[in-house]
């Protein structure tokens, strides 16, 4: 299984797509998920997103992502459940009630976030960092420094996660038990952020120097070697994503 947000080689249509088209397509897909609150539409979007993930062999990675997004969205869902008394009353609360509408809104939030997140994360699993950087510099005219900073940040996420795992292993070897309640785990992990932070600053500094001694400051938009032409498939994918946005707006207006 690939590390979080790390490129997985492959030959699927998504792998071969233009990096900018993938990025824009994923953003359009996410927009389509946010323009409507129609649960049926959102479930259909989630199914499409899961289908895309399975198609390019990222089933396990996506399952892990869904788990993380589900945990996060569950917090939002609980807040919505407790603060939006809509529909027929199901559970009375001292300050209101949980209704069928509250339940629907909570489920909608969970489905919406999962559907919107999957394509955005898939983009990183099916695109090489350099291609992403070069394509947005060449085609979207994003300044190289900003594009490089963004992709480097993403590149370092698994590195720092790995470092954190190493620090936790070292602590476990010294008798610290990370099993137990969520609160206990957080309480034990907070002090470990200091060595992680120190290590991260050192690594980031080394990376910056390493990039600089390889001519980072000389980079121009034209000096990128690879070209990223938009092919018919890329335009078609963008058109489908635009149609999804249109469909989302239509569903929102009609429903």
């Amino acid at each position: 299984m690939a590390k979080f947000l790390e490129y997985v080689p492959g030959d699927s249509f998504l792998h071969r797509m233009n990096p900018c088209a993938k990025l824009i397509g994923a953003v359009l897909f996410a927009i389509a998920c946010f323009v409507t609150s129609n649960l049926v539409f959102l479930v259909a979007m989630l199914v499409v997103a899961l289908g895309l993930a399975l198609y390019c062999g990222m089933g396990r990675e996506t399952a892990g992502l869904c788990k993380a997004v589900f945990a996060f969205s569950l917090i939002l869902a609980v807040v919505i459940l407790l603060t939006t008394p809509h529909g027929a009353q199901l559970v009375p609360l001292p300050w209101g009630y949980i209704g069928t509408g509250s339940l629907l809104a909570a489920v909608t939030v969970v489905v919406r976030l999962m559907a919107a997140a999957i394509p955005l994360f898939l983009v990183f699993y099916v695109t090489k960092m350099n291609d992403m950087t070069n394509a947005v510099v060449k085609q979207l005219h994003v300044p190289y420094k900003y594009a490089f900073t963004f992709t480097s940040t993403v590149h370092f996420i698994p590195v720092f996660m790995n470092d954190m795992a190493g620090i936790m292993e070292a602590q476990t070897a010294r008798g610290v038990e990370f099993d137990g309640s969520f609160v206990k785990k957080v309480r034990l992990m907070v002090p470990l952020c200091v060595p992680l932070l120190v290590g991260s600053v050192r690594k980031t500094n080394s990376a910056a120097i390493a990039a600089e001694v390889r001519g980072f400051n000389l980079r121009t938009r034209e000096s990128g070697y690879k070209e990223y032409p938009m092919r018919a498939g890329d335009w078609a994918a963008l058109a489908v994503c635009a149609l999804l946005v249109a469909a989302g707006i239509a569903v929102a207006l009609l429903g």
């Binding site: 350099n130 990376a207 390493a210 600089e212 400051n217 000389l218 990128g224």
Partner: protein, 279 residues
């Protein structure tokens, strides 16, 4: 030619200079090995060559360091990086790409190497490091030795006149260490590249270096051919340099007047000397 002229350096946050009164001339095409105990100032010497000090780590810089006639203080880091290729100690931090080929391309794109020249340069660098088969592999899937070769390949693709490597075999097993040094040495010989390697393994360094530099407390204690330096094994051991036991044994025989000849670096050499002494 690389010249250190009464060079001293104190990091801004340090109380004392890390290196002092360094005067050294490194001829073109020379393979130089720098070694010494931890904290002796080895890495700082290489930082002075590739311009990381004072450009990235500011401090008090005394004397001068010139590379091909360019003063490293007056020349920008970017201009220096056209002359000096650097491989950092922390290989994982150096990698900016997810795939080997992209890592090699990175520097070439930055330096705006003509596009028709790039494929040849990539092929050449991969072949020089013997990793042509790794071209499409993700960096994350490589072993430590393979990553090291990729890091070196990404630098030699830029065809620098000087190659600086900071502990390139620190995380490698003995076989991978020898493989990296074999490839480096062959590349340097074929291209006339000056190579400066910081390395703790003096035995390994001695097999490849034309000049060994021993640093202690920020000063150069020895700068000579490996044979001449290894002849001082007792002093090297006192400085915290891990001298091979075979060398120490033969030097002890020489001290007893039982052997007259160059210092040996390995067990085979020591065995030959013992056979000669016992005959």
């Amino acid at each position: 030619m690389i010249e250190f002229n009464e060079f001293s350096f104190r990091y801004r946050e340090g109380a004392e200079p890390v290196v002092r009164d360094i005067t050294l001339a490194i001829p073109d095409g020379c393979f130089v090995g720098i070694t010494g105990a931890a904290g002796s100032g080895k890495s700082t010497l290489t930082y002075a060559v590739n311009g990381i000090i004072p450009h990235c780590y500011p401090g008090d810089f005394y004397g001068s360091v010139t590379v091909e006639g360019c003063d490293t203080v007056d020349t920008s880091l970017t201009d220096l990086s056209r002359l000096v290729g650097s491989v950092c100690q922390d290989i994982d931090s150096q990698m900016v790409s997810t795939v080997v080929e992209d890592e090699i391309l990175y520097g070439l794109e930055n330096f705006a190497v003509p596009k028709d020249e790039i494929p040849g340069r990539v092929d050449e660098a991969l072949a020089a490091m013997g990793i042509a088969d790794l071209r499409d592999r993700t960096i994350d899937s490589l072993s430590g030795g393979q990553k090291q070769k990729v890091a070196v390949a990404s630098v030699i693709a830029l065809r620098p006149k000087v190659l600086v490597l900071d502990e390139p075999t620190a995380e490698l097993d003995p076989a991978s260490s020898v493989a990296v040094f074999d490839l480096l040495s062959r590349y340097a010989r074929e291209n006339g590249t000056t190579v400066i390697v910081v390395e703790q393994k003096i035995a390994l360094l001695s097999d490849y270096a034309d000049m060994l530099v021993i640093v202690d407390g920020g000063r150069i204690r020895f700068a000579d051919t490996p044979d001449a330096v290894l002849a001082h094994s007792d002093e090297l051991l006192a400085l915290g340099v891990n001298v091979p036991r075979a060398t120490t044994l033969v030097n002890a025989l020489a001290a007893q007047g039982l052997y007259e000849g160059p210092a040996v670096r390995n067990v085979a050499g020591a065995a030959a000397v013992c056979k000669e002494v016992l005959a």
